[in-house]
């Protein structure tokens, strides 16, 4: 029998179960939350402390061939943030692209227990799993990149929708993936010919399909397979002035279906050019407020060092030209692309300052916290270790006002941020950082403290400085075991790999196998990842078709 414990006297924030700061006893047995413990239970005294479910990050880049390339590409990043080994704890390095063990410890130190790796080319997923397995403590899942996959583009060109669906199911099943990711649909394929798509109706070279078709087809496949998470979309035109029009058009194109818009801050820009760069957060927030089918994570910008890593090759080329930093570009044949550019966000740079403000505007203007989630699109907007700083900005308007004095003055005149005096409550923070993402992911046993939920629990000190509070949990419990105590990792353990089993929709036809073997560097039979290769798998069944 596993450990039994009772957390007593704490103020519990469990918004999924309507608990808002009431003092409740939380009972844990065998790694799950239970009604009451059957035998003697260890008592965790939580008087004057805040108890929340473990954090859930819906969008982060912590493992993959791309992240690993970024580590190699940025040795300077690994000369800082040195973490020494201690008994039971491995050493680590890195700031924007930390090494695997460090990643697990750093998330745990903020009270996070579940994270989603947001961009993976199918061919690299085996590597990603290997890295995720090495990341201690956390439960992890993988989104698989599909928005520029040439098999999908080919089936779309031929109008063979059933084949799209079968292929998507085959990919998710073979790769032990969690969901469908699209990055600049059509644009990354176009980049292989040195171009990008300008609108939703641009035709992709050779395939003659449009981003709109790709979006609709993958959204349809996702919903008809009953996958728990909607399509996870990095929309077209990321980072470019006036892209908010494309963003609105994209959401409109998928009106009525579930949709997760990733790092929407990077998609809420106005202005004809960089000189006229401005915020369109109001327009985007208005649309999201009126459309309950849309969820989003912000991709908040944090000042300082960042590493941009994305499949969005054409955008990375633009960023390289703008920043004059070093640039990594890769063609992942048949599947997608990849670009890496280091970047520094500066308070006094008006574009960076407005980006920072747009993120906060969106957080404050989107009224339903269940549909807006905390992210920095780590490490694109900045490293995840700054989540507590963002929480402070959201909860403390005085701190926001102080920051407004420091950043470029155009934020004052060109954004609504100075006029927004909403302050997030603890319950709302619990929603945007745990309950909400878990719900959007369809993870019914995560992000809450109801009976049967995984006993992933973070206990925070009550501190008026919300950054201090969320940076220094008193205790973190993962699957019923204490993993962090008084700021130190005390019991590293392996986390689980979460993956979805899609319904049976038919075998791939022999023609596909031939083609696969023609194009791939690996045998068809070797492509799928055996569940035996994953030490702690947890299958999440797909739901009914929508």
């Amino acid at each position: 029998m596993g450990r039994s414990l009772k957390i007593v006297g704490g103020e519990v924030y469990d918004p999924a179960n309507g608990v808002n700061g009431a003092v409740r006893e939380i009972c844990v047995q065998d790694g799950k939350i239970v009604e009451s413990c059957t035998g003697a239970a260890e008592i965790i005294e939580a008087r004057n402390l805040v108890v929340m479910p473990g954090g859930v990050d819906i969008h982060t880049h912590i493992a993959s061939p791309a992240v690993n390339a970024a580590r190699g590409f940025r040795p300077e990043d690994h000369r800082h943030g040195l973490m020494s080994k201690r008994p039971g704890i491995r050493s680590g390095v890195g700031f924007t692209v930390p090494s695997t063990f460090a990643t697990g410890y750093l998330y745990t130190k903020m009270g996070y227990t579940t994270v989603m790796e947001a961009a993976n080319a199918p061919i690299g997923v085996r590597h990603t799993h290997e890295e995720l397995i090495d990341i201690p403590i956390l439960d992890k899942g993988i989104y698989v990149l599909m928005g520029n996959n040439e098999f999908i583009l080919k089936y779309l060109k031929a109008g063979e929708m059933e084949k799209v669906k079968r292929y998507v199911a085959w990919l998710i099943r073979s790769l032990k993936g969690y969901g469908i990711k699209l990055v600049n649909p059509g644009g990354v394929e176009q980049w292989k010919y040195g171009k990008d798509v300008e609108s939703l109706d641009d035709k992709v070279y050779y395939f003659d399909v449009t981003p709109r078709q790709i979006l609709k087809a993958l959204s349809w496949a996702n919903e008809s397979l009953g996958l728990p998470h909607p399509i996870h979309l990095h929309a077209n035109r990321l980072g470019i002035p006036n892209n908010y029009l494309t963003t609105l058009e994209t959401m409109h194109a998928l009106d009525g279906s579930r949709l997760h818009m990733a790092h929407i801050q990077f998609h809420s820009y106005g202005g004809e050019n960089w000189g006229g760069f401005c915020s369109k957060a109001v327009e985007i927030a208005e649309y999201i407020n009126a459309h309950p089918n849309v969820t989003t994570d912000i991709g908040q910008v944090v000042f300082g060092d960042a590493t941009t890593i994305t499949a969005d090759g054409p955008w990375q080329y633009r960023l390289y030209k703008l920043s004059k930093n070093k640039w990594y570009n890769q063609d992942i044949e048949v599947e997608t692309g990849c670009g890496i550019v280091p970047y520094v966000y500066r308070e006094k740079n008006y574009v960076n300052a407005i980006q920072w403000a747009i993120g906060l505007e969106l957080f404050l203007l989107i009224r339903d916290p269940w549909r807006v989630f905390l992210s920095t699109d780590h490490p694109n907007g900045g490293p995840f270790i700054f989540y507590p700083w963002i929480i402070k900005l959201l909860m403390d308007k005085t701190f926001r006002a102080e920051m407004l004095k420091r950043v470029h003055k155009r934020v004052l005149s060109d954004t609504t941020l100075p006029k927004l005096d909403r302050e997030y409550t603890l319950s709302e923070i619990a929603i945007i950082s745990r309950a909400g993402p878990a719900r959007a992911l369809g993870l019914q046993h995560k992000g809450h403290l109801g009976i049967g939920a995984d006993a992933d629990i973070a206990i925070y000190p009550k501190d008026d400085d919300r950054e201090q509070m969320f940076e220094h949990p008193v205790c973190v419990i993962k699957d019923g075991e204490t993993v962090l105590q008084e700021g130190e990792i005390v019991g590293s353990r392996d986390g689980k790999t979460l993956f979805v089993i899609p319904p049976e929709v038919g075998e791939m036809d022999p023609e596909f196998k031939t083609e696969f073997e023609n194009y791939y560097t690996i045998e068809y039979e070797n492509f799928p990842i055996d569940v035996e290769d994953i030490p702690n798998p947890e299958a999440i069944p797909a739901g009914a078709a929508r």
């Binding site: 590409f73 040795p75 300077e76 990043d77 000369r79 930093n325 280091p342």
Partner: protein, 270 residues
């Protein structure tokens, strides 16, 4: 203030000793016992400085190392004041990240001398290795200020990614001298290797001997740069004496690297 003298007790020969503790900033307020207790690393083992050196004197920002320590790394790394004299060779990373003060190496310096230093003076009587005054792998900029003066020869990629400051080499340099320089000045009295100034954006490399230039450098003119006279006047104070021909003569000016923004300059006596 009498200097603290470090006499080599047991010089490491295999695994190098990492001794960023040998720094005036750390010695200045410490007693002899405290200096002996400063940590050094031999591989993954932690030791005391006193295990390897006999310490004489205390509380001084003047340090003298009596002997050759070619396997001792990071001497004077990050120092901001005072003076370190090494009566012999020194290991890698000496004076890296240095922000002030002076290091005098009477023998040879190994690789990564004065890497990413911001201010101060490093003088080497002998030769220096690769990447002196350059950037560490991955960093955007190398040396950001200060002076490195090497009387002997240097290795590859010296002054690479330099951002500001001055590197003077009285001997010869190997390949990629001043590669990807962003600014700053390199003055080479000996001969240069291949691809001098490859990828340089701005900054200046003065080569006193003919150089085989990359095709992405373009010839501009012959002139007598006033800047050089001022530079050489300053160098005299450091004991570098250019010939009258070098000091007052004409130079051919090339600009490049045109594969980049092409605002760098290479000067060669006409």
């Amino acid at each position: 203030m009498p200097p603290v003298i470090l006499r080599v007790k047991e010089a490491p020969t295999g695994v190098p000793l990492e001794a960023e503790s040998i720094s005036p900033d750390l010695f200045a307020d410490r007693s002899r016992e405290e200096i002996e207790a400063l940590p050094v690393a031999l591989g993954n083992e932690s030791h005391r400085l006193g295990d390897f050196f006999q310490v004489e004197g205390e509380r001084s920002d003047q340090i003298e190392v009596d002997g050759s320590i070619p396997r001792v790394k990071w001497v004077g790394s990050g120092m901001t004041r005072g003076r370190v004299v090494i009566h012999g060779d020194v290991g890698m990373h000496a004076g890296s990240y240095m922000r002030g003060g002076e290091i005098l190496i009477e023998g040879n310096a190994a690789d990564f001398l004065g890497v990413e230093m911001e201010a101060g003076l490093i003088r080497v009587r002998g030769n220096a290795g690769h990447r002196a005054g350059a950037a560490y792998r991955g960093s955007k900029f190398g040396m950001r200020g200060g002076i490195i003066l090497i009387e002997g020869d240097v290795g590859h990629e010296v002054g690479a990614y330099m951002r500001r400051g001055l590197v003077v080499i009285k001997g010869n340099a190997e390949d990629f001298l001043g590669a990807r320089m962003a600014a700053g000045t390199i003055c080479l009295f000996g001969r240069a290797g291949l691809r001098t100034g490859g990828g340089m954006q701005k900054g200046m490399i003065v080569c006193m001997h003919p150089v085989e230039l990359l095709p992405t450098f373009a010839y501009d003119c012959i002139y007598a740069p006033i800047f050089l006279r001022i530079l050489f006047k300053g160098l005299k104070r450091l004991g570098v004496q250019p010939t009258p021909q070098q000091a007052n003569g004409l130079y051919r000016r090339y600009h490049g690297d045109l594969a980049e923004i092409g605002k760098g300059e290479i000067l060669i006596p006409a």
